[in-house]
Symmetry: C2
Subunit: 583 residues, 2 copies
């Protein structure tokens, strides 16, 4: 690491010759691979942007000039040049740094970012603040082609174009989203690549941007030359650079989708060193949907850019054929389109990560729920986790369950899940949200009919004094708690509530007879969630209520076990609390 060793801030690269910068880029790739191979993380996006980030820091004066990264999953090279080498070289320090930009880490980072399509809008705000404050510096937004399809990005582009002052948008075009790109705008990017940027029909120019094309987006010299030319420009400009995703690591160059993000792996063989064995709900769902589509061509599977995260690998997508629609990173469109597909007589199933479902509150409400169309939304990764603050799965439940008309189901086992999924697809009355469970638990129980699981809680164990209601993922916690209560001589009632868009008031009312305490367990933030509805229900009665779930906070990579302790989500802690109330 002869070059990297000497780099402690961006100014340390400004004296280097091109050849030295190239040497540096090789070392940076090694450092990046060192981190991601140990820790997992975004491989392809980071490897592809090494040269561009070197060139940006060579030409511009960060942090005076401000670089805003979209998603920021391509910022590793930026971290390497801004005093955070140890995040890549010292395994004992790996965990201290996130895989995204974070102002708490460095003055060279301006925002905590983890969702796509935000950089241009954020950069607009910085640029306008600069202009109002009569400051002089460059504002640079970096955005990948995959992120361009998101509504917020497009709103940002239209507004950035009329800013009337310095704004440099680097469009990092590696011809890929997480999977392949989808949407008409990619036709235009291709045309621009094919014409070396010279086609008259140019969506950026149409919006009013000046425009530069850099065919060799991994050529440091070329990039430096271009950035020097646009530095201190007084108008908004798009610099469209054509890069190679995964550059310099053969496996990642070869299989771009698989190597967008990867688990820890062996650098030499490219084999994952950490593997999850057994079934996943992604696999279960994908296989179910494939067999469903084989039998019924009205079933349509929708994704917004993240098929790999739910087991929809290329070969599976191929099996779904025209009954598979990836709309690109355009979650709002996906929800609206799902509603309309249902209206048109199809049976749409939209698969989405809990955290990204947040982009669609209004579409869930206006396009879907008000219209009461029978689309199915499968929410994956819902629940308390050790994820980055930007990727938490704790908020979907309060967000969705308070929208009228949505039926929200929370299965506890594989069989219950498949039963609900199949019902959701076949029925014609409701928009249905299913919160896909985390752990694959097989209960092999006979499954109830829809009229039951839509309106009635399942009383798994009839007891007295204490009733424990364990929603979805936390039914298991409920079972464990009831087991522990039995040791204390309390034969508690155990309930699988099944749904969380409303209450089973009949069952809840019946508990008043011989229960003093109702305990609710839910795998999400408590605020605005399901337990609070139970607390309101019993508000005017003598039944006491204890609600368990997550605190309303953005936790950042806190191990889930630690969170369970913090939130008292352990059977022994819950029993301790119960015994304080039940004497």
């Amino acid at each position: 690491m002869q070059y990297l060793n000497k780099i402690n801030s961006p100014k340390d690269i400004k004296q280097l010759f091109t050849q030295e910068l190239e040497g540096l880029s090789e070392e940076m790739r090694t450092a990046i691979l060192n981190r991601v191979s140990h820790l997992g993380g975004h491989v392809g996006p980071n490897l592809g942007m090494v040269e561009a980030i070197i060139a940006l820091h060579y030409v511009f004066e960060s942090p005076k000039d401000k670089i805003v990264f979209d998603v920021s999953h391509q910022c590793y090279a930026h971290k390497l040049l801004t005093g955070r080498k140890e995040a890549f070289l010292d395994p004992s320090k790996f965990y201290e740094y996130s895989g995204y930009t974070n102002p708490a880490e460095s003055e060279h980072d301006f925002f905590v970012v983890g969702h796509t399509s935000t950089s241009v809008s954020l950069a607009c705000g910085l640029a306008k603040a600069r202009d109002l404050k009569k400051e002089k510096h460059n504002v640079i937004a970096v955005i990948g082609d995959g992120s361009l399809s998101g509504g917020e990005a497009l709103e940002g582009f239209s507004n950035a174009a009329v800013l009337g002052s310095n704004m440099i948008i680097v469009v990092n075009d590696n011809e890929m989203s997480i999977a392949e790109n989808h949407g008409g705008l990619y036709n235009n990017l291709r045309l621009l690549r094919e014409t070396n940027g010279e086609a008259e029909c140019n969506m950026f120019k149409a919006l009013g941007f000046e425009y530069r094309y850099v065919a060799k987006g991994n050529d440091i010299e070329e990039l430096i030359k271009t950035f020097k030319e646009v530095k201190d420009i007084s108008r908004p400009i798009v610099v469209h650079i054509h890069t190679l995703k995964g550059k310099g690591y053969a496996f990642a160059e070869e299989n771009k989708e698989q190597w967008h993000w990867n688990l820890p792996f062996d650098i030499k063989s490219g084999q994952n060193t950490l593997k999850f064995d057994g079934e996943s709900y992604g696999d279960i769902t994908a296989e179910y949907l494939i067999s469903k589509v084989e039998k019924d061509k009205d079933v349509v599977v929708l994704m917004a850019g993240t098929p790999g995260a739910v087991g929809l690998y290329p070969e599976r997508r191929a099996k779904l054929g025209e009954n598979y629609i990836d709309v690109g990173i355009a979650e709002e469109h996906a929800v609206a389109m799902s509603s309309a597909l249902a209206k048109g007589g199809c049976k749409p199933v939209y698969l989405v990560m809990s955290s990204f479902s947040q982009r669609t509150y209004d579409q869930l409400s206006q396009d879907l729920a008000i219209n009461n169309n029978p689309a199915v939304i499968l929410v994956f990764n819902g629940g308390i986790s050790g994820m980055d603050a930007t990727h938490l799965g704790c908020f979907d439940l309060p967000m969705m369950s308070n929208i009228p008309n949505l039926v929200c189901l929370s299965p506890t086992s594989k069989e219950e899940y498949l039963k609900m999924l199949d019902w959701g697809i076949e029925q014609k009355e409701y928009p249905v949200v299913i919160r896909v469970p985390r752990d694959v638990i097989s209960d092999n129980q006979p499954q109830p009919k829809a009229e039951e699981f839509l309106n009635r809680y399942e009383v798994a164990n009839k007891g007295s004094k204490v009733a424990v209601l364990g929603l979805g993922n936390f039914f298991k916690l409920g079972q464990e708690t009831v087991k522990l209560l039995a040791k204390e001589g309390i034969s508690a009632t155990l309930i699988n509530p099944r749904f969380y868009n409303k209450l089973d008031e009949e069952t809840l009312a019946s508990l008043k007879e011989n229960h003093q305490l109702v305990v609710t367990l839910e795998d999400c933030v408590l605020d605005g969630g399901w337990g609070e509805k139970i607390a309101r229900f019993y508000g005017n009665s003598d039944v006491k209520v204890l609600c368990y779930g997550a605190k309303k906070e953005f936790v950042d990579r806190v191990p889930v076990e630690e969170l369970y302790k913090r939130y008292r989500l352990k059977p022994e802690m819950i029993v301790e609390d119960i015994l304080k109330i039940i004497k």
Copy 2:
């Protein structure tokens, strides 16, 4: 009404000659003015689209061919031709029909729509369903230029372009949003108008659409000719028509912004017949912001396309100068930009209607709250109302208050509001949401310091047995309830909670001493709201809790007094409930 009298369904216009259609269009304008002058409603958008809607129904076979209207505030002519004349001609029937499309009214309507930028995505779903089901018909999306700037629309366009089958998007370009347009895409629309659609640099073509321009968008013959040519096309096409907003009514042609939507008015004079006297929070806020900006050039006022709704009329916008930013209908961009303006050292204030704030859950969470930037969001029109189902103000509170880090304030008087607003602008610690009150009530009380109103409830009256907590708009209801309780011999505690993002646990705990019942009043849906948090707080205590607010439902133009009765939001009803518990 010699023509209109004979029209009961779209097929009735297909035999008419052009001149007769023109006569019909005149009668339809008269009918539209008849309704809006009595009832209020969208004037300009509807008058401008009469010819285009006649031409669409003349050429296409609705409902087999499916027309999807964006926002659907331009659908009056469509209603007139699809069996709903009485909504315009018979005052006793006016209220039976909404100002938007609604499948419950007619088979010619496909969706309940009231928010912008959704038609292309919805049409995509209908078109894809048609293709999967091997049906043959046209799918037509109608979208105004103002709606183009919304992220969902842009996502929709990019996806529609690659649909590979019939999809006709009619872009109704009247050179106006609600107010003037903002954003680079409008430069392209202008270029296209100026070149009679022939400019090479064409954003629609860039996405992959075929494209047609109709300069005379109010010329029935011209429109019919064009629609005939594109009917049954096998590819996605944009038909860009240039129309005159407010066409045929001089006042509306003259002052397009004022006549976008209007209160009931006298047709001859153009004067409103229904006027709101006295102060409004729009006026109060606008005047406050103008004087603030005069003194402090760091203060920036942001809007997403609806300035008139909050008192920011053109002359006031002019006073704000460069410290006023309208981003067009692009709420996501507005929130992200607000966050970044704060990061850049400015003091942004974004004004938004409760219902439209729903478009920004993820931006509030990711761009703003995680980054903890000190931007101020002013939510107008929050609360239970008699609005259309698409424009309810009942959901912002649960949606926002369950996002970590947001400080959510609910002032009860003009003075408290201005105090909170000024504090919100000046402070540097929190993203702040202020739910702007509905009624202008002056309390002339000395206002507390921020450390108080951020953390402490105001105990307005210290009593015992019963405590009534009236949040924001409903503090007044709390006062009335407490007054009525006094007549029953109960000296109740009255509290102004001031904030709703968390609880004042100290004050709540202190109530346990000598209160049996806590009553919460909030002007929003109960589900996921603030009262439920209080119910959870007292869940393990002997204090009982009664929560009052709206039921989780999409109510459609139900008079607010009726809703208050339905939800028992009347002092006498609340007291009746209280007395059942307190014996």
